[in-house]
């Protein structure tokens, strides 16, 4: 925020950064090779819905668009869920080797919001991974910062996360992804759909 914004008490809503998302497919390959975590094929976009019909209509248009793929049989229909914080998640499910298709779907959702002027409502995008022992791991993309961070939940009820694994993933993907350096921004997304 600039000096004038502080002086006048106005915040410019932060516009999301979208393009970094396309670094995900190559990072997924790298992650699989180095740690054994494979994509589950599930990914989601999380945003704060705006009240009113305008926003609901846009949201419906996007899910209709994505479901057209499902009708052709190339993908599963998208799920729309609302979490307990009031945020909306659009979950897209693909086969685990279709990382490109998944990212394209996620990008379709966020660009639809941006095109209609609702870019500042985007919170994060999440892509889910599992290893052989079925440990969950998510790569979370923060739209406002254009950075990724790993989220590895251990026990949801006790709200513990596997920090060792997260730091390890940070090291593995440092060259492929723009990893969030400020660890205080790695906020947990407990119970995220698709994880």
């Amino acid at each position: 925020m600039g000096f004038l914004d502080v002086l006048f008490g106005r915040t410019k809503p932060v516009q999301p950064k979208l393009d970094d998302l396309f670094a995900l497919p190559s990072a997924a390959v790298q992650l699989q090779a180095a740690s054994g975590f494979t994509p589950t094929g599930s990914g989601s976009v999380c945003f704060r819905a705006v009240e009113g019909k305008t926003f609901t209509d846009i949201q419906k248009d996007v899910t209709d668009l994505l479901d057209m793929d499902a009708e052709k049989g190339t993908a599963l229909p998208v799920e729309v869920t609302r979490d307990s914080y009031g945020f909306t998640w659009i979950v897209s499910n693909h086969m685990s080797d279709e990382m490109d298709g998944l990212v394209t779907d996620l990008h379709a959702v966020n660009s639809a919001l941006v095109d209609n002027g609702f870019g500042p409502q985007l919170l994060c995008t999440l892509v889910a991974f599992r290893d052989e022992s079925n440990r969950p791991l998510a790569l979370v993309y923060l739209y406002k910062r254009g950075t990724f961070y790993p989220f590895a939940p251990l026990n949801e009820r006790q709200q513990t996360r596997d920090n060792t694994l997260e730091i390890q993933v940070k090291g593995l993907l440092g060259d492929d992804l723009n990893i969030e350096q400020d660890l205080t921004r790695w906020f947990p997304v407990w119970g995220a759909p698709g994880l």
Binding site: L7, R10, P13, R48, L142, K144, Q159
Partner: protein
Amino acid sequence: MATRTRYAPDRGLTVRMTATMFLLGLVFVAFVALIIGVMSAARVSAAGIVLVAVIFGGGMAFASLFYSDKIALATAGAREVTPQQEPRLHGIVDRLCALADMDKPRVAIAPTRMMNAFATGRNSKNSVLCVTEGIMDGRLTDEELEGVLAHELSHVAHKDVQVMTIASLLAIVAGLLVRFAFYSEIFGGGRRGGNNSQAALLIPLIMLVSAVVYAVSFLLIRTLSRYRELAADRSGALLTGQPSALASALVKVSGSMQRIPTQDLRKSEPLNAFFFTPALKPNGQGLSNIFSTHPSLEKRLAQLAKIQQQLGEITPDKH
């Protein structure tokens, strides 16, 4: 490239805020010019008092800014809470901070039944967001609570504590001058005797001018505070995209204020300027509005209704 936005700044509010700050600056410049004039006329006697008031006032303002978070928490008897203790509250703040791309403040809870919240701190790294137990007890829905927290986070983003401290500096110095001049008139008047009648006349003059400056700057600061509240409402509503939830939270919190026992209210008085809604109800409408730190409920609701309309536009303006 022009991007579409539904988040155009409110020009009217900016203009009114600029005018208030300009007037405040004008009063300050006029005051300083006058003091310099008085100092050069009176040489020693008045200069000492002015210098002490400026140093003392500046020190007080700096200390209150630097320790604002600790002072406010101690006054409210609040304790900081970890994500493990209050996962829900931290979860909401996490998400709002990620949406707004800002540093997460520390989170604290004040043990009072009153429904309220405040944010304070000298910068974004050292700020603290405090809610009362009353506001967390389920009377507000999650969306309403989120609206309240977004309003408080906007105060942090707008650096309102810094802005209001700087704005108050003038009033503090003027207030101190009145006091010093008054005491020196009582205790020091006799010693000076009649041989320096010019300086003896100047002391009451400084007192009078300082009193006027204090009164004018007090009103201007209150006006500025009301505009800052409207600005925080606005940014908070745009952040969550739910102006109606914030509006209904305002109605609920303001309504509950009338039922609060007086002892709690008196204790909370010093924190008023940082509260979500003031804990003290003005008795009458009309004139009491210009002394108020917060805009009237009607004004806040009207602004939120306007934002609701703005967010619902099918084709937003290009900016």
